[in-house]
Amino acid sequence: MIRVSHSVSTRNLKTAGLAAAIAVLAVFPLVFTNPTVTSIAVFTLLFMASATAWNAFSGYTGYIALGHAAFFGTGAYVFAIMTTHLNMSAGSSLFALVPVAGVGAMVVAVPFGLIALRTRRHTFVVITIAVFFIFQQLAFNLGITQGSSGIQVPTPNWSAWTFNNPFYYVSLGIVGFAAAVSYFLRRSVLGLQLLAIREDEDRARGLGVPAGKAKLVAFVLSSLPVGMAGAVYAYFLGQIFPQFAFNPLFDLSVALMTLFGGIGTIAGPLLGALVLESLQQYFTFQFSNGDLYLVIYGGLFLAVLLLLPRGVIPTTTDFIARHRARRQAPSPSVDSVASAESGRGGLAIASRKVR
């Protein structure tokens, strides 16, 4: 009884929070017009989309993939190659190629997934790293990618003050898309199958879960927003190089952002990317010392792993749930129900607003 009325009021609160977050994100570039700030915002949004998509596979299945940079780079290169080979002129119409680049990443993800998903646990992690490096090698050595000299992408001649805004809104759209994928995946039968695989793959198989198919679908699905983010990245920067499009730090970053926010939750990767990527961009802008930044980043990563191994969102929702349960019904049974629910990631469904 208490918990039902409770969840209704929480739901209203969450809808309001979500609406507020969307409103803030929608007017952000109109309020903060400084190009430095909006450019940081674009990178942050791209990482929010990527981390959300990464979490839709790795967070739900428990398979830690460290090769999503291959999709990011593929999206970036598909976009760049299309613009140069089709001789397209810069402008808003080029954004139409972003979904195409995302589909390009999906096409790549199918064989990648078929190979990598034959293995489990650590072997899976290592094989995703290896496949990622194959892609990086291809970008360095193939003729069509123009090797280490990179590819120039046409730059639109928009005014400098509002130049970032179209990129901002397209990126925001990708974030929304990635969050929607993550949300509906979580609520679908497929999502339940993925969670069953995370808990115990052999048992899930025994109960009739088509584990191979479910994992592959989630893997390919999670590559789509990452490829789209890569395309926007290429367009935004105006040129791409193999070592930046296929960057091993990208894999680490999305994993860290997701772990920081809360792996397996919907809001976790959004929050993690929002905090960490904007901080990182700010640091690079302020100190412009890549090495110092690496030290800080590594230290922060270790601190998260050791102090908040479950992430910010599960830890805080847990805390709130326990606090409320204690206040409303001091009997130990309700307390244990609430904490059991949150312990199984049950609250993950509930916590989907950004903050």
Partner: protein, 289 residues
């Protein structure tokens, strides 16, 4: 061609040494030390400092760098790894050691900058001329060093009481604990040893390749490929896979093109794992975990 095979075997020996450390750590602790690559680079930089600033010979310098790397390994394990939760331990360990790796990379970048350097000594530039092909002294010396250290690890594992407890922990952690093995202490020392071998590996690597703080990525992806191919936790497998891969890479570089050699290196891993998910020499039970 034959030159390529001989070079592959000689460098393969050195890679085998670095990979043996990695696979030993995995076998005992069930964690993957992604920082192994940057530890190799760190070992190379330690040798660099000793040889350039203090004028100590590279091989003599190992007397300092091997214990130093052992200590670093013990500290890293004690401060970061041992405090990780037990849940998803392998995945967490990859992330934690990755974080350690980028911290070390950052520190090396701050101290030494991103310029490429290479270790130098009289035996780096000279070579034997035997049976029509050239053998650089450093390759031969490095191979001998790797063989000696691998032999020492082998003796330690199979001839000492500590080695018996390491092997017991390799087979079954909880059973080893039951018969009175201090598994945590074994794990810490094993991690130290696994990292210590990178001092020697790094010295030879640094003398045969130019390196900078970013070299660790390239190295770790190779080392991981080797240990996965060899079957995680199997030292013999790591030896076989290291020699196999390096010979393959050298042959590809000669008959096709050097730029595609790394591609074949990783391609071989993908092909092998598609056919045998446990690796070339892995136990079949590894997949059921």
């Amino acid at each position: 061609m034959i030159q390529a095979i001989v070079d592959g075997v000689l460098t393969g020996g050195v890679y085998a040494l670095m990979a043996a450390g990695l696979t030993l750590i995995f076998g005992v602790m069930d964690i993957i030390n992604v920082a192994q690559g940057i530890f190799v680079v760190l070992g190379a930089y330690l040798s660099y400092v000793l040889s350039v600033h203090l004028g100590i010979d590279l091989f003599v310098g190992l007397l300092v760098t091997i214990p130093a790397m052992f200590l670093i390994g013990v500290v890293v394990q004690w401060v970061f790894i041992s405090r990780l939760g037990t849940r998803e331990r392998t995945a967490m360990s990859i992330l934690a050691t990755y974080a350690v790796a980028i911290m070390i990379e950052g520190v090396l970048g701050l101290v030494f900058s991103d310029n490429y350097v290479q270790l130098n000594a009289w035996y780096v530039t000279r070579s034997y001329h035997v049976f029509g092909f050239y053998l650089a002294y450093i390759y031969v010396f490095g191979f001998i060093l790797a063989a000696v250290l691998l032999g020492a690890i082998y003796l330690m594992l199979y001839r000492t009481r500590f080695g018996a407890s390491v092997r017991a922990s390799l087979q079954d952690r909880s059973a080893a604990r039951l018969v009175g093995v201090n598994v945590d202490r074994v794990a810490t020392i094993t991690f130290g040893i696994g990292v210590a071998v990178t001092a020697a590996g790094g010295m030879v690597f640094g003398a045969t390749n130019s390196f900078n703080p970013n070299t660790g990525y390239d190295l770790i992806s190779r080392l991981l490929t080797i240990v996965i191919l060899g079957g995680l936790g199997s030292i013999g497998g790591a030896l076989g896979a290291a020699v196999f891969m390096l010979v393959l890479e050298d042959i590809v570089a000669v008959v096709w093109s050097p730029v595609w050699a790394p591609f074949v290196f990783f391609g071989a891993l993908v092909v092998v794992l598609s056919i045998r998910p446990t690796g070339l020499f892995g136990r079949s039970s590894a997949r059921a975990q």
